[in-house]
């Protein structure tokens, strides 16, 4: 492995890649390739992570969010080293004659060379399009070099539930939002369907009329669902407070598996949301209804986050409340 990378060389390789792909598609009787790009996606992951798994997730994201994907694999301690390779990710849309291709760059970097990463990545970003940083490495999140990387980004996506010290990470995330960084947290994204189902219960005018009666919120969580539970509790409490309803929030740990459930109760109304395998069960005053709720995958969560390249006021408010909630609650 070398110790330096020249971004110009990578850009030249990317350019050659397009010429080769175009020639190849034409010799195969096609009509050339279409280059699609809507962003630069910088993925920061530990080298020990399953490369194939991560590659499949990135590939799955490309049709909907075509991007120049730069995968940085962190090789950890050791001598200062950097290496790169470029390749393309192509697919043939159903019923169409032309291949669509996206560019991918893979950079392997040791901790000692991390300080140089910004200078390598910056020239590789696609001009005029957003740079989204998806940091999968909890180790890197805690390192000072991460701040410089985050500063380049239009949006940073983390997964706070994977952290060994989620409360501390939430606090740092809140600080980053305070500095104007646009942030996404997959632990919040996990909740979108939950929140949507809860909102749907109160789309019914009869149920909406009962909102003022809600007095208690009980959130139960287990395993790695601590952060989502914090978010869910904080969001429900804040949403009700904004409507002038002060409900008491109770949070409790129930089991070791990745469990989450919420119950809202008041005079004459009880709403419960719980997961059962791949379904969500919504129970309103004893009557249950099921809906699909597939187990969240990184692909599903990132797909949603990549759609939102703007500040998310509901998330940012909830993050602030979750930070406050995190400290009194013992994990």
């Amino acid at each position: 492995m070398g110790t330096t990378i020249a971004p110009e060389k990578i850009l030249k390789e990317l350019s050659d890649l397009w010429v080769d792909s175009g020639k190849q598609a034409q010799t195969e009787g096609g009509t050339g390739v279409l280059r699609a790009c809507s962003m630069t996606l910088l993925v920061l992951a530990e080298a020990a992570e399953d490369a194939q798994d991560l590659g499949e997730t990135i590939a799955a994201l490309m049709p909907e969010h075509p991007a120049r994907a730069i995968l940085v694999r962190l090789s950890g301690a050791g001598d200062r080293s950097m290496a790169e390779r470029v390749y393309s990710q192509c697919w043939m849309p159903f019923g169409q004659r032309r291949q669509i291709c996206c560019e991918q760059v893979e950079i392997t970097v040791s901790d000692a060379a991390l300080a140089d990463l910004q200078s390598v990545v910056l020239p590789l970003t696609v001009a005029d399009l957003p740079l989204i940083v998806w940091c999968r490495s909890q180790r890197l999140l805690a390192m000072p070099e991460f701040r410089a990387i985050a500063q380049m980004a239009d949006k940073v996506v983390i997964h706070s539930a994977s952290s060994l010290d989620p409360a501390a990470l939430l606090e740092r995330a809140h600080g980053a939002v305070g500095r104007g960084i646009m942030l996404g947290d997959l632990s919040w994204t996990i909740l979108t369907r939950w929140r949507e189902m809860l909102a749907q219960v109160f789309e019914n005018h009869q149920n909406a009329a009962q909102v003022a009666k809600l007095a208690e919120i009980d959130v139960e969580w287990g395993g790695s669902r601590y952060v989502p539970a914090l978010y869910l509790g904080a969001w429900i409490r804040d949403s009700l407070a904004a409507a002038g309803v002060n409900a008491k929030l109770q949070m409790s740990r129930v089991a070791d598996d990745d469990d989450l459930g919420v119950k809202l109760t008041g005079d004459g109304i009880a709403v419960k949301l719980a997961r059962e395998d791949d379904r969500m069960v919504v129970t309103l005053n004893g009557a249950s209804q099921c809906t699909n709720l597939p187990q969240p995958t990184d692909y599903m969560l990132m797909r949603e986050e990549l759609r939102i390249v703007r500040h998310d006021p509901v998330f940012e408010r909830t993050l602030a409340s979750a930070v406050q909630l995190a400290h009194p609650i013992e994990q």
């Binding site: 049709p63 909907e64 075509p66 949507e196 789309e203 909406a208 919504v282 209804q289 509901v314």
Partner: protein, 506 residues
């Protein structure tokens, strides 16, 4: 006053869908089986429908709720494209399916329906909201609306809306009469005239393309646009619908509604807001600005056509007059080509060529905007390399937008060649696009009429089409005048040639 839902998050959640009952007249028909139920099931699959959602199917055949559910299950399994069948989703959806048998002309049907709606409202808390969908023979529209009105079902505790499929009359007078009859039971604001072309993602994208970007609108006028071609071509014939098609023809079936709506979308003035009244006002204004033709202008600026037999790819295909159920001397137009002019400051003098037909060379719907050539050809002294800039909006298939312009050929010397810059809708956004019926049904349930046609738009369209209808009826053509599998009659080429233009062959 509606109570605000404190849990809404518009940035992340899909649009809010109120609880309601959709009542489908013609529940045994093809449209219900192929389009409506699969679209509603897909909305349920995507969790877009509220818990208090129900469907009531109506047709003459006696059937239990359970039998109706079974029948719809088959339709959903057979006609749902790009959607996995999920037993759990179906079970929840099917629990809200009901059926009422009866004749549209029979008052008892509406009394039974009223009773059923009340029962469903109590069971499923639909809030009294009802969307009536007329998927019947057009001759039944007025009768169904009157029946609903007479039984008091057209008004109620929640909102009531009426969705009507085309054709909206067969000429201006009948369109007005139909509207008058519908208005006896429903306000115009409650009538949703559906034109599924407007529900297509790419037609909606025209609005995004024109009014979401700053660079195109300055070019979008008579100073820069030479002419516009709108093509709605089908490669298939009438496919067993000869008897129906004989009454309609290409002009009424496609141009009066779909293609004039597409033209209105491409040529309308910018709307002040993206709210239904504002967008519809602009569409309507454009349609009213299309110059109606005198008989002499119809003779010069329109071409009717009818396909004759031909061999396509080694397979013999019949001419229209040989199709089952078609009069061997039929004067029905299976092709219509028209040249329209818009009398406003933006488009004065710019020809809009519209063509549509059955059994044309390929299936394609597109808009091609041809810009004026560069004022001076400095690279090309003999004119051999000149090619106009074209902006092509492809509606189907391979939805997208292409810009054609000249570029230098690699190598020494200054030789130019046209190149294409493509935006492909399906590949740039890999996610599945909702079907036109999903979009339009959801819009109607939400109460967004932006993509629906208003009475004044229908009347304006008929005002454009009626003089053509009248002239064609009074001057029988020498049919057939194009072989199946070609781009239409030679007269249509001549129509453009008179202004120095040629049809694009997509």
């Amino acid at each position: 006053m509606p109570i605000e839902n404190p849990f809404q998050d518009p940035l992340r959640f899909e649009r809010r869908v109120p609880e309601c009952t959709v009542v489908i007249f013609g529940a045994n028909g093809d449209l219900t089986k192929r389009k409506l139920l699969p679209a509603l099931y897909r909305l349920a699959y995507d969790r877009r429908l509220s818990a208090g959602f129900a469907v009531v199917g109506i047709s003459r055949t006696p059937m239990s709720d359970e039998a109706f559910r079974e029948k719809m299950l088959e339709s959903v399994k057979q006609f749902s494209e790009d959607t996995d069948f999920d037993e759990n989703v179906w079970a929840g959806f099917a629990a809200g399916l009901y059926y009422v048998a009866g004749d549209i002309g029979d008052a008892a049907l509406y009394q039974n329906l009223a009773t059923r709606l009340e029962q469903i409202e109590n069971e499923r808390h639909t809030g009294g909201n009802v969307l009536f969908y007329l998927s019947t023979q057009p001759s039944q529209y007025a009768r169904a609306a009157q029946g609903l009105g007479a039984a008091g079902v057209s008004k109620g505790k929640g909102w009531r809306r009426l969705v009507v499929e085309k054709p909206f009359g067969h000429d201006l007078a009948s369109a007005r009469e139909l509207s008058d009859r519908l208005h006896e039971s429903f306000d115009e604001s409650e009538v949703y005239r559906i034109d599924h072309y407007l529900g297509k993602e790419t037609v909606q994208n025209i609005l995004a393309f024109r009014f979401g970007n700053g660079i195109f609108e300055p070019l979008w006028n008579r100073r820069y646009v030479n002419h516009v071609q709108i093509t709605g071509a089908e490669s298939i014939g009438v496919e067993g619908r000869g008897a129906y098609y004989q009454e309609a023809g290409a002009l009424d079936d496609m141009i009066q509604n779909h293609l004039l709506q597409v033209m209105a979308t491409i040529a309308m003035e910018p709307s002040a807001t993206f709210r239904a009244p504002s967008v519809r006002d602009e569409r309507s204004k454009l349609l009213r600005s299309i110059r109606p033709m005198t008989p002499e202008e119809v003779r010069q600026n329109t071409v009717p056509g009818q396909y004759g037999p031909a061999s396509i790819g080694g397979k013999d295909v019949p001419g229209f007059r040989q199709e089952p159920g078609v009069d061997p001397k039929s004067q029905t137009n299976t092709y219509a080509g028209v040249t329209l002019f818009v009398d406003n400051w933006r488009w004065a003098g710019v020809p809009f060529y519209i063509r549509t037909g059955k059994r044309l060379a390929k299936r394609v719907t597109e808009i091609s905007i041809q810009f004026n050539e560069a004022p001076l050809h400095i690279f090309d002294h003999d004119g051999a390399e000149s090619a106009p800039n074209l902006l092509i909006v492809r509606i189907q298939p391979e939805e997208g937008i292409s810009l054609k312009f000249l570029s230098k050929r690699p190598g020494s010397g200054m030789m130019l060649r046209p190149v294409s810059m493509d935006f492909n809708y399906g590949s740039s956004f890999g996610e599945r696009s909702p079907s036109a019926y999903e979009t339009l049904l959801l819009d109607a349930i939400i109460g967004d009429a932006t993509l629906y046609t208003r009475q004044d738009m229908v009347e304006a369209s008929w005002s454009v089409v009626e003089p053509i209808q009248n002239y064609w009826r009074g001057n029988p053509a020498d049919f057939p005048n194009y072989p199946a599998g070609t781009w239409g009659p030679a007269a249509a080429d001549a129509m453009l040639a008179r202004r120095g233009h040629v049809w694009r062959e997509p």
